[in-house]
Symmetry: C2
Subunit: 234 residues, 2 copies
């Protein structure tokens, strides 16, 4: 049984009709074909017909990012989803310009992007936290890559492949932290300097916009140690 | 002497004033500091004061892409520029939805992105060509990475690092071809299959949007064999 929003999406966005088959997933049980038995204005009923794809493990990769303007932050949510991110964590830093985050809208962007790119899970979008809260709550075993604004960070490819250590293993939990366009405040940089799970990285000689940096970093991680080496299923 | 558009940008976007110094570049001679001597409504005069940065060689990386909707194609031009692309080549393929390309607007996007990310060159934007024209004119020594829609392509990181061959050298000329959302037509795929400079690559298990795929591929190339290993100049 689908709720009103899901029904609307099915009927008006996907233009599905009674008798059509659609692919369903819930992030746990893989992907299944389901036939639409009834399709009304507010509710729909589907019957599961057969299994399509087993649930594949996805890389354990988080993206923490300072909120930016509406159009751009929506793009981060959608494109990070296309790149397989497992969790989206908005963080309000000292120099963050946007103090409010529409988590519901970002979550809707993530849902739509997940459906379009055929991934079998949707990354949750957290309520925003402060920089201090993010750092305090950060799991100590999870590596956090942070762009080094001084340009002295380790090139990302090097940080990912360093000596075939544990840090380059595919299932290592990781995260990327992207600051606001104005960069991190001095006290935030000081805090990052002394945290053992932080890796200061370089994303090249050009000063990328925050949304570009987020997507670029995620792509490189997925390509080198993530699931870009997994061929798409049939 | 600046023209009217450059003067407008200087006065109204950058909010510069007489006596201010700005950084100038022309893609050939490096970056120089120049002082604004006069700043009118339609013209400005500047005097070069001193050298700032020498011209750095930039990776020889092209992006050929089927045009997509207005906001998204502007985004490709800007973000590809932030990622250091050397040339932008719009290509009209069989299934391309947008048959017209506003080259001037894309070029303006590239200029603005180059200025914001502090690169010392602006990638030119070609007039659009057909798929056949692109392939016929493609320099035979330039590797062309194309996303394999069947999912059987070589993972991009592997294609870039294969056996430390000539193809993984930093100064190898390269290009990326991103097709339209509907994919390449059968005859285009047949043509790509037999071209010796084409490398069919996989960008992971998710079906990315064309603009996401373009930026993701460029980021991975720059990180592995491009200039992401260059620290930013002081």
């Amino acid at each position: 049984m689908l709720d009103r929003d899901q029904t609307h999406y099915l009927a008006n966005v996907m233009r599905a009709r009674t008798g059509d088959e659609v692919a369903l997933f819930n992030g746990r049980d893989g992907e299944w074909a389901a036939r639409i038995d009834t399709l009304g204005k507010r509710a729909a009923e589907l019957s599961v017909v057969r299994a399509l794809r087993p649930q594949l493990a996805e890389p354990d990769l988080w993206l923490a990012f300072a909120p930016i303007k509406r159009g751009r932050i929506d793009w981060i949510a959608a494109k990070a989803t296309e790149l397989g991110v497992a969790r989206l964590l908005p963080v309000i830093t000292g120099r963050t310009q946007m103090s409010r985050v529409n988590v519901g809208r970002l979550a809707a962007n993530a849902v739509e992007a997940a459906e379009q790119c055929e991934r079998m899970s949707v990354p949750p979008v957290d309520e925003p936290v402060s920089f201090a809260e993010l750092i305090d709550a950060w799991p100590r075993h999870r590596i956090l890559y942070v762009g080094d604004e001084t340009g002295r960070g380790t090139p990302l490819a090097e940080a990912l492949g360093a000596n075939a250590t544990l840090e380059s293993a595919a299932d290592t939990p990781r995260g990327v932290l992207i600051g606001p366009e104005g960069g991190f405040a001095a006290d935030e940089l000081d805090a990052l300097d002394v945290l053992p799970f932080v890796r200061k990285i370089s994303l090249g000689p050009r000063v990328m916009r925050a949304d570009t940096a987020a997507i670029a970093a995620l792509a490189v991680i997925q390509a080198l140690v993530g699931d870009w080496r997994t061929a798409r299923g049939g």
